[in-house]
């Protein structure tokens, strides 16, 4: 290293290093910092999530008024399993033929009822296959209301775009609507720690096997 000092002057020894260059360097740092902060916080989420539209723009408010409550289509079966998002046969109870003049209903009848094709709904609350979730344990035993985890979907008149994580394939509703880790409402995020937090709060069993059979 000592030989180095006999050669061309070192950068830190040049006359040009002074307050000016310090500021320039600081600004460079700041530009890099702020730019990539923006990339990470704003651009990345936009790129990471693709916006998909539900096959039919379903009006929950109208249907809950007609059918009465969440349970009329999303219910617990005799054996305790949850019906989840109903199949076409549920819609057929009323929509064998078009009963209104809504273009969305027309889509239902023409593209699905008449073709006997199941509607490929995009499920916001879909969890990975390794997760075992029992609705009965939560809604029946825990007496938790649907909207606590799913939001007040019953009041919605339009469907919300399904923001799919391009890498994992799960919805943004699972990853975190707002910002990773930041929750304003209980259902802004539904990853493992969120389930765990709620279990902890209520003194419920938090062992691995409770959800991972």
């Amino acid at each position: 290293m000592s030989a180095h000092h006999d050669e061309k002057p070192h950068c830190c020894q040049t006359a040009s290093s002074g307050k000016c260059s310090m500021v320039f360097l600081a600004i460079s740092f700041l530009i890099g910092f702020l730019f990539f902060l923006g990339v990470g916080w704003i651009v990345f989420p936009k790129l990471l999530y693709s916006k998909k539209i539900q096959p039919i723009d379903f009006d929950h408010k109208l249907h809950t008024a007609e059918a009465g409550g969440c349970e009329s289509c999303h219910s617990l079966r005799e054996d305790g399993t949850f019906t989840g998002i109903p199949g076409l046969d549920n819609c057929l109870q009323c929509h064998e033929e078009q009963i209104g003049n809504n273009p969305e209903e027309q889509k239902l009848v023409e593209d699905y009822v008449k073709q006997n094709k199941e509607i490929p709904w995009l499920v916001y609350s879909r969890q990975p296959d390794c997760v075992f979730f029992s609705h009965a344990a939560h809604t029946k035993m825990g007496k938790i209301e649907c909207k606590e985890c799913h939001g007040d979907k019953g009041e919605s008149e339009k469907t919300v775009p399904y923001e799919e994580n391009r890498i994992t394939g799960y919805s943004r509703d699972i990853d975190g609507r707002i910002v990773p880790g930041l929750k304003l409402a209980a259902n802004d995020r539904m990853k493992m720690t969120d389930c765990g937090d709620c279990h902890k709060k209520h003194g419920e069993n938090n062992a691995c096997f409770v959800c991972h059979k």
């Binding site: 700041l30 730019f35 990339v39 990345f44 079966r77």
Partner: protein, 776 residues
């Protein structure tokens, strides 16, 4: 360093800091780890059926004649699990591995998804899809043409069994068409049928009340290898074992190999291969000599025990004198390698028990026995009078179904029916057998190709895979190559379907209605109803419907004889008042049938015949009176002893299916390295024998028989007689898909046929063999 470069460095540092303080790297890490657990779009992605309502549908398994009741669990429209149905009289919740793996039949590979027509050479595997309408139209046109040429008798049909409504429909079709050539695949049932016919004078199913017996002598029967109605026998076997532990029962297995059944028995008696009947006659000798037989039953209900004089004044030596003169214990001991003392002990133990039962039929009972050999074992039951009694044998009569409407026959049909059967059954050569398809390959191979249309112009194949299950598969294959028109109803591309000109795929058993009529060996009359559990997955059609449509397409009296709307309607009519019970429970059992009961004997002498006069009346004339008695004749094996010094026997296992339905891959995975090692079949050999051939455990060898040869690996087994090689059955498929094909060797490739001179069945259970170490 220049300012610009320093600035860039600072920029990069800032970028790094900015990114780190943003969610990007952390989210990317988390998401990547989740991605690695989803396998989305990758070849290893496991298909998960859509979630939905869970339902359970009851039906009856049709993969073997056993008739177990099964419950199929479905998630929405997908069948996901098969279990035995609790409370079913045959299996009561139990199920065998094949039944449990039954989903493979529906969703597994090699399914024929549409009707196919052959393009290119036989066996090439080139098919073109045809519509059902075209296929039926083509075939019916061809058949009508054959008929008009006065050759209706050349159209034949081979069915897995002759029980059940679809085989009956095929028989009906041939009858209305004008052909006597309905064949059913050979099995132990053929021998049992003849024994019932001649000894009892009855038609039905031979029932063994294993559960209630207290001294069971099993002559090589694989009670836990799949004999009888497998799950039912397993349950009875368990009951026997429970009783045995308390000293209340005994199971003795006489077999040349330590099978699973032998290993679990109270005693395993090793015998020379093929000498089961000789042992039985030796036991009979002791029982008769020491007067241990049931005198009352013999005097009142048996004919042919004492010598009798015929109408011409000739005295015929009968059972008593025959066993006393021809089967002294020393002679039997020399033939069978069973020590004399053992023979005495067994005979006395058997005769002195309150419910002694002798069981016959080697292994699973896939191969028929000779009649005399079977009678030798079966007659032990008569000697002790354990017939129509609890813990004994009985004849379960056929359950009557609704009568078929009369068949309309025109002149062509009547003319055709006058012809002799191709297999020689029901003719002077083989008067008592009903079907002898085992004779057919050799017959065909001797005919010139040009003459084929005058002998067998067409062959339907239903629920059978003869190119795999018959002995000497090479002979069968070359015969099948010659048949001008072959129509297979197979649901999967099996070995026989490879030779077909048309494949008209049937629904699998879980996709169709069918009657499972009176499974073998049960002590009560029962019918099962196979019901559709899922909608047919592909463009397949119920063979019953296809036959009806074919008949209608052929017109005339044939169509007149088939005035059925469809198969389901026909089946419903046939099952009449039993239908509702069948749909609700899956089975219909005749509870009024009692095992114990005097059912009489409808033989010419109105007694249980040990000397079967009925056989003579049936058309089999022999100068040798021993042909009408239970008898043992040494097994005629081809090949010279010095060229083929060893004996090869086939071994049956519950883990491998050696019948029409191929072993599903999940089952093949359950066998050990002493059965299949990688893709090599493993044969068992006694270490002593192995030593003389310089074979070490696991060595590769060439196994040769007069019929063929194959590469094998050897496995040392002390439970096998020296001089004997044991080869598992059920492997060596050359069709289906990659998961089934190419594993091991089909033992039928190298075992030839042996024709029983009295009845004409192929009674081969093994052959002479030679083994040589492969040095490579």
């Amino acid at each position: 360093m220049s300012l610009g470069r320093r600035a860039f460095l600072q920029f990069s540092l800032g970028a790094g800091a900015g990114l780190t303080l943003s969610p990007l790297p952390w989210k990317l890490l988390d998401d990547s780890s989740i991605w690695s657990q989803t396998f989305r779009g990758l070849p290893i992605e496991v298909p998960v059926p859509p979630a939905g309502e869970v339902t359970i549908k009851k039906t009856v398994c049709a993969l073997c004649p056993g008739g177990c009741g099964i419950s199929v669990r479905k998630v929405k429209e997908r069948a996901v699990k098969i279990e035995g149905t609790e409370g079913h009289p045959i299996n009561d919740g139990g199920i065998c591995p094949m039944g449990a793996a039954g989903l493979y039949q529906i969703y597994g590979g090699a399914r024929v998804t549409k009707p196919l027509k052959r393009t290119g050479e036989r066996g090439d595997g080139n098919w073109s899809e045809v519509s059902w309408a075209d296929a039926i139209s083509d075939i019916s046109t061809q058949l009508n043409k054959t008929r008009k040429e006065g050759l209706s008798h050349t159209v034949a049909c081979l069915s897995g069994s002759d029980q059940g409504t679809v085989p009956q429909l095929l028989k009906r079709l041939l009858s209305a068409y004008g052909s006597p050539n309905f064949f059913s695949m050979p099995s132990l049932r053929d021998t049992e049928g003849l024994a019932l016919r001649f000894m009892h004078g009855k038609k039905g199913v031979l029932g063994y009340d294993l559960e209630n017996a207290d001294y069971v002598l099993s002559f090589g029967s694989g009670l836990i290898e799949g004999w009888g109605s497998p799950v039912s026998v397993f349950r009875a076997h368990s009951a026997l074992r429970d009783k045995a532990r308390e000293g209340k029962a005994k199971l003795i297995q006489l077999e040349s190999r330590l099978s699973n059944t032998a290993a679990k028995a109270d005693k395993w008696i090793p015998i020379e291969p093929g000498t089961e009947a000789a042992v039985a006659l030796g036991l009979a000798h002791v029982i008769v000599k020491e007067m241990l037989y049931n005198k009352q039953f013999i005097d009142n209900n048996v004919f042919g025990f004492e010598d009798w004089v015929d109408l011409n004044g000739k005295t015929h030596r009968a059972f008593k004198r025959m066993v006393l003169e021809d089967w002294p214990v020393d002679k039997v001991s020399a033939i069978t390698a069973v020590p004399a003392a053992q023979i005495f002990e067994l005979a006395r133990g058997f005769a002195k028990s309150s419910a002694p039962l002798a069981v016959a039929g080697r292994g699973k009972g896939m191969t028929p026995s000779g009649l005399n050999e079977f009678m030798a074992i079966y007659s032990l039951n008569a000697l002790v009078g354990n017939v129509n009694k609890k813990g004994g044998v009985c004849v379960v009569p056929e359950i009557p179904l609704k009568e078929w409407p009369d068949i309309a026959r025109d002149g062509l049909a009547l003319a055709g029916l006058e012809h002799q059967r191709i297999d020689g059954a029901d003719t002077k050569q083989a008067p008592v057998a009903q079907s002898l398809f085992n004779m057919v390959p050799d017959l065909i191979n001797q005919i010139n190709q040009e003459k084929m249309s005058d002998v067998m112009s067409a062959l339907f194949i239903y629920n059978a895979n003869p190119c795999y299950t018959l002995h000497n598969t090479q002979q069968v294959a070359s015969a099948f190559n010659k048949i001008p028109l072959i129509i297979s109803f197979a649901s999967h591309k099996d070995e026989t379907a490879k030779y077909a000109d048309y494949i008209l795929p049937n629904h699998t058993n879980l996709e169709r209605y069918d009657d499972i009529y009176m499974p073998p060996g049960l002590g009560f009359p029962v019918i099962g109803l196979s019901q559709p559990v899922i909608t047919p997955q592909y463009d397949t059609r119920h063979t019953g419907d296809v036959i009806i449509e074919l008949a209608k397409a052929m017109g005339g009296t044939i169509a007149e004889s088939f005035k059925f709307a469809n198969y389901e309607t026909l089946l419903k009519e046939r099952l009449a008042e039993k239908w509702d019970t069948l749909v609700a429970e899956g089975f219909w059992k005749d509870d009024s049938f009692k095992l114990e009961g005097d059912r009489g004997f409808d033989t010419p002498t109105e007694r249980f015949e040990l000397f079967v006069i009925g056989l003579q009346r049936g058309g089999f004339i022999s100068k040798d009176d021993n042909d009408y008695l239970p008898y043992y004749k040494s097994f005629p094996m081809s090949g010279e002893k010095d060229e083929y010094p060893l004996i090869l026997i086939q071994t049956d296992s519950m883990r491998l299916a050696n019948g029409t339905i191929a072993t599903p891959p999940l089952m093949t995975k359950t066998v050990s390295d002493s059965v299949l090692k990688k893709n090599d079949i493993v044969v068992e050999i006694n270490p002593q024998t192995a030593a003389t051939y310089g074979l070490l455990d696991g060595d590769k060898a060439l196994l040769k028989t007069p019929t063929g040869k194959t590469n094998v690996r050897v496995s040392y087994y002390n439970g096998l007689k020296p001089g004997v090689i044991a080869m598992p059955t059920g492997l060596g498929h050359t069709a289906y898909d990659d998961y089934i094909c190419g594993k091991g060797t089909n033992s039928n490739d190298i075992i030839g046929t042996v024709t029983d001179p009295v009845v004409g069945f192929d009674i081969a259970w093994g052959c002479r063999a030679e083994i040589k170490r492969i040095i490579a």
